[in-house]
């Protein structure tokens, strides 16, 4: 397997790789969002690309973390979106969200090229990414999971020898599968959209990816009882909000806001909206 992580990333690499991967150039420069509030009272300069507005890039859709929702102010909904909204509220900022390409986010291009102040896209904090991005404290503990058809005989990662397992390119799930599922035929897809279609079509026999996404498939009302999550894996990793590495004032402000949310129960309220389980 040629999964070798030699992080030697620089800005230009990020720029070029993202270009190559057709970074969706979210062209719109929200010019219309003049805010009622002045620059955050008492706070240090947050170096935002547009004053008074927290511009956030996210690879949408990735439910339940981010999805399109015309009924909301931002036009987006999801766990990440709610977290970002709550942070912005504390910092007295408006929120503008832009749909972006995940590779542009994880490579740092979207931030470096001034498209947004923050990437909130269910992004796991990894040492490789930390070289290019400045992460907030973790706001969600990511777990990986194995989804199989309900009638499958696969019950754990040890049963994957010779089995086609769908993973998403460049994700923690892909790395985890390559390290831990010995003998598995790892099939790499561009996104969960193709992966879910592939397991429904019988082209792969299992999906290994983030737990919430697999849970969504398990609970898919249109395919009730067809798929089940048989195993979850604690990778000891968590999702972080990514910002420009040198924008420490913004990172500090975000961390402070996250801490406040966790203290006053706002975080738990948002968490339960999406992940309240009876497991």
């Amino acid at each position: 397997m040629l999964i070798r992580l030699t992080p030697r990333a620089t800005l230009a690499a990020a720029v070029l790789s993202a270009l190559a991967l057709t970074a969706s150039a979210c062209g719109s420069d929200g010019g219309s969002d003049t805010t009622g509030s002045d620059s955050p009272s008492g706070a240090a300069d947050l170096n935002l690309i547009s004053d008074g507005t927290l511009t956030v890039c996210s690879d949408v859709p990735y439910p339940p973390f981010e999805n399109f929702d015309k009924t909301t102010d931002t036009g987006f909904a999801g766990f990440d979106v709610d977290i970002v909204n709550a942070i912005a509220e504390q910092l007295d900022l408006q929120v503008q969200i832009k749909d972006s390409d995940f590779n542009a986010l994880q490579s740092g291009l979207a931030l470096a090229s001034g498209q947004c102040d923050m990437a909130a896209s269910a992004m796991t904090i990894t040492p490789e990414r930390e070289q290019k991005l400045g992460f907030s404290d973790g706001y969600y503990d990511s777990e990986q999971s194995l989804l199989v058809p309900a009638d499958s005989s696969i019950t754990s990662i040890d049963d994957l020898d010779g089995v086609k397992v769908g993973v998403q390119k460049g994700t923690t799930g892909e790395a985890y599968t390559n390290e831990n599922a010995s003998g598995a035929d790892v099939v790499v897809f561009p996104s969960d959209g193709e992966m879910y279609a592939a397991i429904k079509a019988g082209q792969v026999e299992a999906l290994l990816q983030d737990l919430p996404v697999n849970l969504d498939h398990q609970n898919d009302p249109k395919a009730a009882g067809e798929f089940k999550v048989v195993e979850t894996y604690d990778t000891g990793e968590s999702y972080g909000l990514a910002m420009k590495k040198d924008n420490t004032s913004l990172i500090d402000a975000v961390n402070e806001a996250l801490a406040t949310m966790k203290d006053d129960g706002d975080y738990e309220k948002i968490y339960d909206t999406y992940f309240a389980t009876d497991q």
Partner: protein, 264 residues
């Protein structure tokens, strides 16, 4: 006052060369050589790509291209003959097929064949998603090449067919031994063009999922971008694509020259 024509031409050429030189100079000066060598010419990355870039990725690109082209041309031949058939039903079917598949993006057909058809019919193509994707490429390239082939058949002078008939050959025999051999010579350049397009269209197969031993050049390069956090894999696969496609286009040029001579 009036300059000699030769002088004028020399002046004009001089300006053209000066502009070209200026452009080259700007490119050389503005390029960040340090960044380029760090990001595109990273030695460790290049070493890491070798030899899989040739033994797996390039091999698969060529393999997928050959399969799609061979299948496509067989399908195209059937479609072209149907379009020229005296039977209206055949003509109609072929026209509908060609218009349908020329009107769809290859990517849509690939995803539909690999992920949609198994859902709808419970039938999985041999070779999994890649097999299904290749069938889709055959279906699409067949539609394009059918029109080329039909034009080639129609370009064969009518006198050839009439002569064959006057010798007592039947329609099928005339087509196989007289018309088609001449038509194929006419359409070789445009068909080779289609081959070069197919080399690049194989990159679309990445959308339906690939195992490591199935990757073609583009998905190999994309995985490299992620694994090495470095743009070198991109330059590497670009070079390999050129190694494949430039000889192919030279071949087209050669065949074109030869055909022009033969036609005289």
């Amino acid at each position: 006052m009036s300059l000699k024509r030769a002088t004028k031409r020399r002046l004009r050429d001089g300006v053209a060369y000066a502009v070209l030189l200026a452009v080259v100079a700007i490119v050389v000066v503005t390029a960040d050589r340090d960044a380029i060598s760090k990001n595109f010419l990273d030695g460790d990355t290049w070493k890491g790509l070798w030899p899989d870039i040739v033994l797996i990725a390039a091999k698969n690109t060529v393999k997928y291209t050959v399969i799609a082209f061979a299948g496509g041309i067989a399908l195209a031949l059937v479609l072209a003959l149907m379009r020229l058939s005296p039977l209206r039903l055949y003509r109609w079917l072929a026209t509908v097929y060609i218009e349908f598949f020329r009107g769809l993006p290859a990517l849509v057909v690939i995803i539909f064949m690999a992920l949609g058809v198994p859902l709808a019919f419970g039938w999985t193509a041999p070779g999994g998603t890649i097999g299904a994707g290749l069938i889709a490429l055959i279906m699409v390239s067949g539609a394009y090449m059918a029109e080329t082939l039909r034009a080639g058949i129609q370009a064969v002078p009518k006198g050839q067919r009439e002569a064959a008939q006057s010798l007592g050959m039947n329609g099928f025999w005339t087509m196989v031994t007289v018309t088609l051999p001449q038509a194929v010579r006419i359409v070789i350049p445009p068909l080779t063009n289609e081959l070069i397009l197919l080399v690049k269209d194989t990159s679309l197969l990445t959308f339906v999922g690939m195992q490591y031993d199935q990757v073609e050049l583009t998905s190999f390069g994309q995985q490299g971008l992620v694994n090495y956090s470095n743009a070198s894999p991109l330059l590497a696969i670009a070079l390999v694509y050129l190694v494949i496609s430039i000889p192919a286009s030279q071949l087209v040029a050669f065949l074109e020259r030869r055909q022009q001579r033969a036609a005289r």
